[in-house]
């Protein structure tokens, strides 16, 4: 599985189309990643139609059936209010996926813009921004998120803001270092000589070159974001009852932990499957974009 092939990222007069087909061909070879991709597509459909397919309402109290084990009527059993866990876990998909994508998308855009400009222009602006980002980077992700939630108060929206803030430096650094490399490429220098404006160079010539790295990081960040949301909710700092967020379900399950195994198992499995798929997809994308990596990682 070792390709003696040019790295498609290097920005010479590389045709977009061939790059894309190369990428697709390489990606198809990553069988686990393809499987992960299809599982994720399935999860997306679940996220979109969860309220339609869920057999019960997420807040349908049924006090007579509380804390029951899995059965045909309740595939995943019920919780302390007799709500159907299967429906709740199902609907949790929408929350986790949307938080994951929204936060990472915002962080990617902000981070990339910061990275592009600081990397391209350099100088004092670059120095100051990078110092500040270093300082943000000095906080471990979850701890920064906890601190931010302590200011803003618990809640999903605030947890999302916290995640955006700690994701930004990752992208800013990544894009900045790519920009630094590309800035001196023959291609960009040529464009400069032809009198292209800075903005044009940045968005037309440098951004596409940065794109592959960002995509790989994106997939990995989404899984990180989902995990952090769940962790915050687990600590009581993210989603609030009765939101069926997976981390919160796990947190609530702790009270009944010893008598009801099913309550803790299923939401946890949901997190594992989702995070696993994003990680595998991210690995696959990385290898497809940079086949030299194939046998590393």
């Amino acid at each position: 599985m070792f390709f003696k092939k040019k790295n498609p990222m290097v920005t010479e007069e590389n045709d977009m189309d061939t790059r894309w087909s190369d990428f697709l061909r390489n990606f198809k070879k990553q069988k686990t990643a393809v499987v992960a991709f299809f599982v994720l597509v399935l999860l997306f459909f679940i996220a979109i139609f969860c309220y339609k397919i869920a057999p019960y309402g997420i807040n349908e109290y049924n006090y007579a059936e509380k804390l029951q084990g899995p059965s045909m009527a309740h595939l995943f059993g019920t919780d302390e209010f007799g709500r159907d866990l299967f429906s709740r876990v199902l609907c949790g998909t929408r929350i986790s996926l949307s938080i994951g994508f929204i936060t990472v998308t915002i962080a990617t855009v902000i981070g990339s813009v910061i990275g592009l400009f600081t990397g391209y222009y350099g100088g004092i602006l670059d120095g100051i921004t990078m110092r500040i980002l270093d300082a943000v980077y000095a906080f471990p992700g979850l701890i920064l998120a906890i601190a931010i939630v302590a200011i803003l108060g618990p809640g999903l929206a605030n947890a999302a803001i916290a995640i955006v803030i700690f994701c930004i430096p990752t992208y800013a650094r990544l894009v900045r270092s790519c920009t630094l490399q590309l800035k001196n490429s023959v291609y960009v220098r040529a464009a400069k000589c032809l009198g292209a404006s800075d903005l044009r160079i940045l968005f037309k010539h440098i951004l596409p070159g940065v794109f592959p790295d960002v995509i790989v990081q994106y997939s990995l960040s989404v899984s990180g974001s989902i995990m952090t949301t769940a962790s915050l909710s687990f600590l009581g700092m993210g989603a609030m009852s009765p939101t069926p967020e997976w981390g919160l379900l796990l947190s609530n399950s702790r009270t009944y932990f010893y008598s009801c195994w099913h309550y803790a198992v299923f939401p946890g499995l949901a997190i594992v499957i989702t995070v696993l798929c994003f990680n595998l997809l991210g690995d696959g994308l990385r290898m497809a974009l940079d086949p030299k990596l194939n046998d590393r990682a």
């Binding site: 109290y61 006090y63 509380k66 804390l67 302390e80 209010f81 108060g153 618990p154 809640g155 009581g236 609030m240 009852s241 009765p242 609530n252 702790r254 009270t255 009944y256 932990f257 010893y258 008598s259």
Partner: protein, 534 residues
């Protein structure tokens, strides 16, 4: 008058002692005392923050206080006075002077004798509000303390305060050694020196606090106690270990595996499960209640029909079942049933139809939107949601904003703007009366208690009500107070400035080694009448 009171109190005390002695003939049946094996482990749900009684802030802080320390007087499980470090107390007729006669022959665990000087040192510290201790605000009424003789102190109040004796019976009034007070805040927080039944063996922060029995405790000594000891020698435990375990499931598992003997704070499901598998279980109503406050200064709530409609539209029994597993008790008055002067009121009928009609009459037939604040705790949010659903049935849209505790403290407790301009129309919150006195619980609905001065979150203002509250708070005559609070409860109940929802319950489960577990009236674990069973 005051003699009568002390006679009544002593009779009550004798009954209490007879009850805890478990039989008549007190000192006739002296046993060998507590067995060496009587070691128990108690699981609390949170770590205590301090061992300083006057600085306690949470229920967990309260747990060890009455093991290490004794107060002048204690409230028994049924709110009777049990005289501890004081023999009795005389009150002046105007209710401003309290003269305490102290017990003789008691000393602190460091050898310092207990006397009037020691009592004064404690009372002075409690009264001095500039110390900034968390629990000392209740002693704000103390004007000055005089030493009359070696074993007599006289406390003079700034104004008549009916619950004063009750405030001396709570954990924050535990008497510390004067040498400890001199050593300052840090010593008070870490190295307790009291006269209590137990002494501190070791505290490992985050792990446990271990207390050892003080076999020479004065309460076992019939002579010091004036004939009948406070406790027989076989009551108590050789050692008590208190461990903070925040996860309820872990507390249950530790109890089941025998690593612990007693666990507090359990949800109904777990409590039932433990009870069914043979564990002892205690549930007791405390002095806390949740209220749905309606800002009476808002135009919409100036109309009593709207307030009544809301009170009729909430099915409190269903709330109790859905959110609290029927573990709490439906309010039958603004006071909890465990409080003195409690009078059961006519239950408000759950009747959405009638409520709808009342709303129509008031001109809100097409619906009404209200802003409601609450704390963002999980069960609090569930409670809010339930009420939201209920009010929807009568056409009221309740917009609930769960807020951070700090935000609420700032914007509700410390609100200083015009009462009718509050951002919230309604507010759901629990209130616990530390002093277990009606004055604290219902007296805060007086006009003078608008935030930021007090806890009148309904901004309720009613002259008649104020009058009775004033009479009740300024009297030390139980009959007068009974009448005053009876009237005040009735007015409150009819006027509905706040819907009284549920009064809280405290639960504990324990294994076969412990007998006599109870909760104090304010909710703290009360192990005084407990003993070890082999």
């Amino acid at each position: 008058m005051k003699k009568l009171l002390s006679v009544v109190l002593s009779i009550v005390m004798i009954f209490a002692l007879a009850a805890c002695g478990g039989g008549e003939g007190g000192n006739a049946s002296v046993t060998d005392g507590v067995s060496e094996n009587a070691n128990i482990t108690i699981l609390d749900y949170a770590e205590m923050s301090t061992l300083n009684p006057i600085d306690i802030g949470t229920e967990s802080d309260q747990v060890p206080v009455f093991m290490l320390y004794d107060p002048l007087v204690k409230l028994g499980a049924d709110q009777e006075y049990i005289w501890m470090l004081a023999k009795d107390c005389d009150m002046s007729d105007d209710g401003l002077e309290y003269t305490f006669h102290l017990r003789e022959g008691i000393s602190f665990s460091d050898g310092t004798p207990w006397n009037a000087d020691a009592a004064k040192a404690n009372l002075d510290m409690m009264a001095d509000q500039s110390n900034g201790f968390k629990s000392q605000f209740v002693y704000e009424c103390i004007d000055h303390v005089d030493v009359v003789d070696d074993y007599t102190v006289k406390v003079t109040l700034k104004y008549v305060s009916a619950p004063f004796l009750n405030t001396l019976a709570i954990q924050s009034a535990a008497m510390m050694s004067p040498t400890l007070i001199e050593q300052g805040k840090q010593a008070m927080a870490t190295t307790p020196i009291g006269t209590g039944q137990y002494v501190l063996n070791e505290r490992r922060v985050g792990e446990y606090v271990k207390l050892d029995l003080n076999r020479d405790w004065w309460g076992y000594d019939a002579d010091i106690c004036g004939g009948t000891p406070i406790l027989e020698k076989d009551y108590g435990f050789n050692s008590i270990t208190i461990r903070p375990v925040s996860e309820e499931s872990t507390r249950v598992a530790l109890l089941q595996s025998g690593e612990a003997d007693l666990a507090i704070s359990l949800t109904p499901n777990n409590k039932k499960m433990l009870e069914e598998s043979g564990y002892g279980v205690v549930t007791k109503q405390g002095a806390s209640m949740s209220y749905f406050y309606l800002n009476c200064q808002k135009d919409v709530f100036k109309d009593i029909r709207v307030r009544q409609a809301i009170s009729m539209a909430i099915d409190i029994d269903a709330l109790n079942e859905v959110v609290y597993g029927n573990e709490y008790t439906r309010a039958e008055s603004p006071l909890t049933s465990s409080m003195k002067f409690f009078e059961k009121q006519e239950p408000i009928e759950y009747n959405p139809e009638k409520a709808k009609k009342l709303l129509e009459e008031a001109g809100y037939g097409d619906g009404l939107t209200l802003v409601c604040w609450e704390e963002n705790d999980t069960t609090d949010i569930q409670r809010g949601e339930f009420i939201q659903q209920q009010l929807e049935q009568i056409g009221i849209t309740l917009k609930i904003y769960p807020q951070e505790g700090g935000f609420l403290t700032d914007n509700v407790n410390a609100y200083s703007g015009a009462p009718k301009d509050t951002e919230f129309d309604c507010y759901i919150r629990g209130y616990g009366a530390d002093t277990i006195d009606a004055d604290e619980m219902i007296g805060r609905f007086a006009t003078a208690q608008f935030p930021p001065l007090g806890g009148n979150y309904s901004f309720y203002s009613n002259e008649e009500f104020d009058k009775w509250i004033d009479i009740g708070g300024k009297s030390i005559d139980d009959e007068v107070r009974q009448e005053a609070y009876s009237k005040a409860q009735k007015i409150f109940w009819d006027d509905v400035p706040a819907v009284s929802l549920l009064s809280y319950a405290y639960t504990a489960a324990f294994n076969e080694h412990i007998d006599g577990v109870d909760f104090g009236c304010a909710g703290g674990l009360y192990l005084m009448n407990a003993k070890y069973v082999e």
